[in-house]
């Protein structure tokens, strides 16, 4: 996957439990060794970067070693932050008596389904912009597939919605100007807020869908369910024109493993590996052998990275 070093943003997706965190950590570590200023981002609620790197990782970039930073997104914390800023802005325009009532309503909206997901997405969009200023490469260890796909479809949905809202604002403003001969107001806050939103999403979308800047990799294991999930996910990503080019097949039984039990497992595994090769022939396939021990610490990550590059 050395060619991934040319990219600015790399996503690792896949079913839960197939080793996304390990793979993305190993990749980030190796990229940092190659001199890329790298940020590893975990969006998985079951944050386990701290277990792998044996270091505390926070919600802002934490430096782990030379050229390598990591952060974990906590959607709940992000939505709190957003709500707090909305309240702060309201306080400037609304009377104190009104404020109490409004706060209560905002808190209701805040717990509405989808709020955490929106917050997570918002933060990802924000982080992607950092490639322009702070990092050479950003590696995302994303949550299980369904979730990731929804994240990718949101900008499209959001863009269409904001566009229609903006065109309504424009209509009102131009009616005022043309027919009432009123000077256009110096600023329409609604128009400005919507435009800022729109630009932010549009920029992230441009990066995500640009195969020169972004790569999306799928991690799976040679087992029935991960193969099935990958089979389902790939066409959807294709539909959104997300550039997927490499599949990482993790935990392949190594050649040197012996014993009758392993021999039989390997026979079954061979079927799955063939299936993977036939079904996903248009993608590059990288294999990572099963290690003797659990992956923890830099040394084990380095071993994994050796198979990736």
């Amino acid at each position: 996957m050395k060619h991934y070093l040319q990219r600015k943003v790399v996503f690792f997706g896949g079913k839960g439990g197939v080793g996304k965190t390990t793979t993305s950590s190993a990749f980030a570590l190796r990229a940092a060794d190659h001199g890329k200023k790298t940020l590893l981002v975990s969006t998985d609620p079951a944050h386990n970067l701290r277990d792998i790197f044996e270091r505390q990782v926070g919600q802002e970039p934490t430096q782990l070693r030379e050229n390598l930073w990591a952060l974990e997104i906590d959607p709940h914390h992000e939505s709190h932050r957003y709500i707090a800023s909305v309240k702060e802005n309201l306080r400037k325009v609304v009377s104190v008596q009104m404020m109490n009532e409004i706060e209560r309503q905002i808190d209701i909206a805040h717990v509405s389904p989808g709020a955490d997901e929106s917050a997570l997405f918002d933060r990802i969009v924000e982080i992607i912009q950092w490639i322009e200023t702070d990092f050479d490469l950003i590696v995302f260890d994303t949550a299980p597939t369904g979730h990731t796909l929804r994240l990718l479809s949101l900008p499209e949905l959001m863009g269409a919605w904001v566009d229609s809202m903006l065109s309504r604002r424009q209509k009102v403003m131009s009616m005022r100007e043309t027919w009432l001969e009123e000077a256009a107001p110096a600023e329409d806050p609604i128009y400005e807020i919507l435009t800022a939103r729109k630009l932010k999403f549009a920029r992230a979308r441009e990066v995500i869908l640009n195969a020169k800047l972004t790569a999306f990799s799928f991690v799976l294991t040679p087992e029935r369910l991960p193969i099935a999930e990958t089979t389902r996910a790939l066409p959807v990503l294709q539909k959104y024109q997300v550039p997927v080019d490499t599949l990482v097949v993790n935990r392949v039984i190594p050649d040197e493993a012996d014993g009758e039990f392993i021999r039989r497992r390997r026979e079954q595994e061979r079927k799955y590996l063939t299936e993977i090769e036939q079904q996903f022939s248009r993608y590059r396939i990288v294999r990572i052998p099963m290690l003797e021990q659990d992956v923890a610490g830099l040394e084990a990550l380095d071993t994994i990275a050796g198979h990736l590059f």
Partner: protein
């Protein structure tokens, strides 16, 4: 003659103002659609519009002859 033109103009402007107001009302409706039971995929992101639309909402329901806000979720007064 000029008085006549003036009269025409006043009525005409009133029409335009009404249309603008309708458009603004519709905008509010779209912002608060979730609370009316219409799904809004981006309701989370519309929260940040609240500071800009709160007073308009208050103006709207008083204009509609409702002394208090008709929406349970938005009690501006």
């Amino acid at each position: 003659m000029q008085g006549y033109e003036e009269l025409f103009y006043v009525r005409y402007r009133r029409e335009i103002r009404r249309e603008i107001r309708n458009e603004e009302d519709l905008f509010l409706l779209l912002c608060f659609s979730e609370m009316l039971g219409l799904p809004n995929p981006v309701s989370y992101y519309t929260l940040e519009l609240y500071p800009a639309i709160y007073e308009r909402f208050h103006e709207w329901h008083t204009r509609m002859g409702m002394e208090r806000s008709p929406l349970d979720d938005i009690r501006c007064c």
